[in-house]
Symmetry: C2
Subunit: 131 residues, 2 copies
């Protein structure tokens, strides 16, 4: 079974199939650092240390792990120059660039409703935690 039981011949709500598809994306880029890396690599080839500086707060370990996952899913291309000291460049693949475009709608949504959400949150908290 994958994606909460929405598999082969399982009878499911049509809407939940869409939810399932969205989850596929989130499973890949939902990690804490994936988007940041993807965005950085979408501007052109970036080196390991450049990323480390741009993604403020990321550890070497998480940078490596996230890069590996993105590479595995075909979202990043890794090019190694056999020089000394070593040089490695990461580049967003075409499908990563497409993904990047698809994210625009999300950022637009977030920007439009940022304050609304903050207000809702404040109202909820006022009403609930001090009952």
């Amino acid at each position: 079974m994958e994606c909460a039981g929405v598999a082969s011949d399982t009878p499911f709500t049509p809407g939940q199939a869409r939810a399932c598809t969205v989850r596929e994306v989130l499973d890949r880029v939902g990690g804490k650092w994936s988007i940041g890396i993807l965005v950085a690599a979408s501007q052109g080839p970036v080196r390991f240390t450049e990323l480390e500086r741009q993604i403020e707060g990321i550890s070497r370990r998480m940078l490596t792990l996230t890069l590996r996952n993105l590479e595995r899913d075909g979202l990043l291309h890794r090019r190694v120059y056999p020089t000394v000291p070593p040089k490695v460049e990461y580049t967003a693949t075409p499908i990563a660039l497409e993904l990047y475009e698809s994210l625009v709608a999300l950022t637009s949504w977030a920007e439009r409703h940022r304050s609304t959400i903050a207000a809702a949150r404040a109202a909820y908290d006022r009403e609930h935690d001090r009952a």
Copy 2:
């Protein structure tokens, strides 16, 4: 500091600001069940038990928790009917419906590249784990 150091007057890469915005969205709907619930509630009012059945695999606990979070962020409206036994209906708010629309681009991306990604993954695994 919020969103990996991208705050007020911090000098940061413009691209990372966008990454930061995307993260805002993911922090709200990136949970394992959020999208499924949002999708279900977008079709019209749904009751607790209906959700429990539709979201196959979810536990009562996570259903409750996720509903609370979505309500807190103003994505769901919760209506209680003071009957016995109790009846509670959850409805997607306008901004949730807008979000739902924004997700279409993502599902489309996932569908277009599902097989490409699977292939990349297979290739990567073939090449790496049995070295």
